[in-house]
């Protein structure tokens, strides 16, 4: 009997058509629901071992932010779906509110009855078709999208729609994908991470060219080394003299690269942003060739003591714009604070000690004699207590706290414990009352998890911030229960609720804003804790906020 079974299994292992859309859809589903990193790694590795080469390349592209341009708008997808299922628009909107995701809403609304099963196509077929129809007429697009919907089951339809609409937020970090690729290709993770970074076109690149041949792309950045927040006391890290302390800056982490007389600026999000920062363009002539610097892109300007950093809100005016006006350049000047040297003289320096890298970096920055590029200042300290005292002054210079780096450390890949730690200052806090609630999206759809908070101004309540995170699932459940029973009014998806629940809101910074009723905009607001011990008349006031603005917002 056992033998029979074995035989039967062998027969089943005759290769089926590999790399179809269903395989990809199953991967996405299992990644989306899996709660264990190991299971996700397993699912990814399996995919990379069985999927077709072209599909693998697209998989890497999609999960490293190289999705093709959007060729069909959300509005059209919605319209075609409604036509197909014959439902009113308002009902679609209701469904969307409950599901919290357009791609999923459409996938659920299309009933299985209209399916026209057809031979399965691979992932790359759909992506390449989507690229192909970008410039085509609306009729052609509609035909392709509707035909595709009909050929797919609900999961595949969801994934297909996601390919069109945007990011797969499925809890897979690029690091995890790198690890899976490393497992399958038997290459070191750092090598994989480096090879799949930079400028490459998924249409033209084969899987083996991407991973196995040394890639001669000059723009290629290195994977960033990221720090975890320190756990416990810094004294537990050992002797102070083994560590270098620097300020932690709140800008955009970036790499400046010069190779073959070309300059490239990359953000940590692996976006090539050279054109956005003309302040750096002189480096093309000034930097030695074959060099990669890691640092912070940040709004600031030269000063008598070196440089001053401006609030993050300034930098925000520069992000997301294609063309930078003269006015913006003047109002939100950008500097680069250099942290590290990853490549020098065309040589990978990441394995050298930080001390060696720093010494060379100091030389390079000094030679530039620039008013745009500065060394990250080292905070001198002999005792941990001394550093702790310096750290609390961080907010006065628009810094977020302190970075601790082991002097002997190599430049590693991704977020790692041990050699680099961030030691942020405690956030600013304010007690506020919840006045509006809205359902969340994605993981939190159908649950009221997005709240607006207000402070007191005499008898009035003035809304000043939203916050989406900081409560446990259980607490979200409790607040949701409260919202559903204490709604005063309904405006579309928003409910006004009885101003009864008090929360401590934490935030990293505060800036003046004329877009907000309260006159302030907060940086990284989140719920610190639920103040069940407080009553609505004990919350902070608008004056308290203004005082904070006066103290920290300049």
């Amino acid at each position: 009997m056992d033998e029979m079974l074995t035989y039967g299994e062998d027969v089943n292992e005759v290769p089926m058509q590999v790399g179809g859309m269903s395989l990809f859809a199953e991967l996405i589903m299992s990644l989306g629901t899996s709660t264990k990193t190991n299971d996700k790694l397993e699912a990814l590795s399996n995919y990379f071992s069985v999927a077709g080469d072209k599909d693998k390349v697209w998989m890497i592209a999609i999960f490293s932010g190289r999705r093709p341009r959007r060729s069909v708008s959300a509005a059209l997808l919605q319209l075609w779906c409604l036509e197909l299922v014959n439902l009113p628009q308002w009902l679609f909107a209701e469904c969307y509110l409950t599901v919290g995701d357009l791609a999923e809403t459409i996938s659920l609304l299309i009933p299985p009855e209209i399916m026209v099963p057809k031979e399965e196509q691979p992932l790359h077929y759909y992506i390449e078709q989507l690229i192909g129809i970008e410039k085509q007429s609306e009729e052609v697009k509609k035909q392709f999208v509707i035909d595709s919907w009909r050929q797919m089951n609900q999961q595949e339809r969801f994934v297909f729609n996601k390919l069109i609409t945007g990011n797969f937020r499925i809890g897979v970090s690029q690091q995890l994908m790198v690890n899976a690729l490393s497992k399958v290709t038997e290459l070191p993770a750092a090598t994989v991470a480096h090879r799949i970074s930079g400028n490459w076109d998924p249409v033209m690149t084969t899987f083996s060219a991407l991973l196995h041949e040394s890639n001669s792309d000059d723009s290629k950045p290195y994977p960033f080394y990221l720090a975890y927040a320190i756990e416990g006391e810094p004294a537990e890290l050992g002797l102070p003299h083994e560590w270098q302390a620097e300020w932690k800056w709140d800008g955009i982490r970036g790499q400046i690269i010069k190779r073959n007389n070309e300059l490239f600026v990359w953000s940590r999000g692996e976006e090539l942003i050279t054109e956005k920062f003309p302040e750096y363009h002189f480096l093309k002539d000034k930097l030695p060739d074959g060099i990669v610097m890691d640092g912070e892109i940040i709004s600031g300007r030269q000063s008598d003591e070196g440089f001053v950093v401006l609030p993050f809100a300034n930098l925000q005016t520069r992000i997301g714009r294609k063309n930078i006006s003269k006015k913006q350049l003047q109002e939100a000047p950008v500097i680069f604070i250099a942290y590290d040297l990853l490549e020098y003289n065309h040589e990978d320096w990441r394995e050298k000690t930080m001390q060696e890298r720093r010494t060379q970096l100091e030389q390079i920055v000094a030679d530039l004699q620039s008013s745009e590029v500065f060394l990250s200042p080292i905070i001198a300290f002999d005792m941990w207590a001394e550093l702790a005292a310096t750290r609390v002054t961080a907010r006065l210079i628009n810094s977020e706290g302190v970075m601790l780096k082991r002097k002997s450390s190599a430049y590693q890949v991704g977020r790692k414990r041990g050699d680099w730690w961030k030691w942020k200052i405690d956030p600013l806090t304010i007690d506020a009352v919840m006045i509006y609630a809205q359902k969340g999206s994605g993981r939190r759809s159908n649950l009221y998890t997005d709240y607006t908070f207000a402070v007191k101004d005499g008898d009035k309540l003035v809304p000043f911030t939203k916050a989406y995170s900081g409560l446990t699932d259980k607490e979200f459940g409790e607040v949701d229960y409260f919202v559903k029973r204490n709604s005063l009014e309904k405006f579309g998806p928003v409910r006004t609720v009885k101003p009864e629940l008090i929360f401590e809101i934490a935030f990293e910074g505060i800036a003046a804003s004329n877009r907000h009723k309260s006159g302030v905009a907060l940086r990284f607001p989140r719920i610190n804790r639920w103040r069940k011990d407080k009553k609505p008349d004990e919350i902070n006031t608008l004056d308290d906020l203004k005082q904070m603005l006066e103290q920290y917002g300049k």
Binding site: T33, T98, E104, T105, L108, P111, F158, G442, N446
Partner: protein, 333 residues
């Protein structure tokens, strides 16, 4: 005066002087089914289906319970009342109320797919239909029960392959009974949380047949649970109680699992959109089959669902009740 009115105690038939699924104690309560949001404590007398009585006794203790068979009419103060299968759980019934040719049907909770144990939903013609709307949006279209069972069986096998126990979260009255047979096709190593086990005991004493399951013994050594299926109610999810089954994976049976966000939010390993409520098409078909000229929509997506009915030309209004706790993912859905 309308045959059934919506009062702060519940659905009330003034001429018969009885309530249907009241949420406050009353003199006479007609009960659609034994779930706690429909069958509440404190009324002087209860009228329900024969299968519901032992469940009510277990839940509410001793009291004055009268029973009816499906289709067997009774007159209460001159109002004709009969029960008809609702397909929701064992004993669940729609309640038909007739007076001078005016017929109202209160659906309670119902599903239109025949699950093989709850009795097949019977479309009852009426003038006015009071329907639930727990899943009254067109995104809720269920897969066939048989297909979901295959998904559950495959998931259990996957768990066993990883040497993990499979913890299935299912409401103790309803889904637990539906999934037990397909689980027993995979393994006989089935254990149930006390709450689930108690319901099985009650149903078995009433003559229902189910595969054998073990009651979880709090003092048993951990090693007892290996490659086992554990059936637990939603209240046990993510509790310390579950720790003893480590390593384990969690699968949840609930209509809410239709939406990915709900699966992810609960941080579970698998979600099965298995529901004891009608899906969108089920609701529409049921309403059409009643040929009712007026439809009241209760607990669920009542405002969207009743607006849709109105636009389709079926006169409809939403009614606020205390069933199903608004749009929460209540036990039993």
């Amino acid at each position: 005066m309308a045959l059934i009115q919506f009062t702060d105690k519940g659905l009330y038939c003034a001429e018969g002087n009885f309530y249907i699924d009241p949420w406050q104690p009353v003199d006479k309560a007609v009960i659609t089914h034994a779930h706690s949001d429909h069958a509440r404590w404190g009324s002087k007398s209860y009228l329900c289906h024969t299968f519901t009585k032992p469940l009510l006794q277990q839940r509410l203790g001793d009291g004055n319970y009268e029973t009816l068979e499906w289709g067997q009419p009774v007159f209460i103060n001159g109002v004709k009342v009969s029960l008809h299968p609702a397909g929701h759980i064992i004993g669940s019934s729609q309640i038909r109320v007739e007076r001078n040719g005016d017929v109202w049907v209160v659906s309670g909770d119902y599903k239109t797919e025949n699950d093989g144990i709850s009795g097949e939903f019977e479309p009852v013609k009426c003038n006015t239909f009071i329907t639930e709307s727990t899943f009254g949006l067109p995104i809720y279209n269920w897969k066939k029960q048989a297909d979901i069972f295959i998904d559950i069986q495959n998931w259990i096998k996957d768990c066993f392959e990883k040497n993990a126990n499979a913890v299935i979260i299912a409401y103790s009255l309803g889904k637990a009974q539906r999934i037990i047979a397909p689980i027993a096709e995979v393994t006989s190593n089935i254990h149930a949380h006390g709450a689930v086990w108690n319901i099985f005991q009650t149903l078995k004493s009433s003559g229902f047949k189910f595969p054998d399951i073990n009651r979880i013994d709090i003092d048993a050594p951990k090693e007892k649970y290996k490659n086992a299926v554990i059936i637990a109610p939603p209240s046990a999810e993510a509790s310390l109680w579950m720790r003893r089954f480590t390593p384990f994976e969690v699968g949840v049976c609930s209509g809410w699992m239709q939406v990915r966000g709900n699966v992810r939010r609960r941080n579970i390993d698998a979600g099965f959109a298995l529901s004891d409520h009608a899906d969108w098409n089920g609701l529409l078909q049921a309403i059409e089959a009643t040929e009712a000229s007026k439809v009241f929509v209760t607990h669920g997506f009542q405002s969207a669902f009743s607006r849709y009915l109105n636009e389709k030309g079926i006169e409809s209004a939403e009614v606020k009740t205390e069933y199903g706790n608004d749009e929460d993912a209540v036990e039993g859905n």
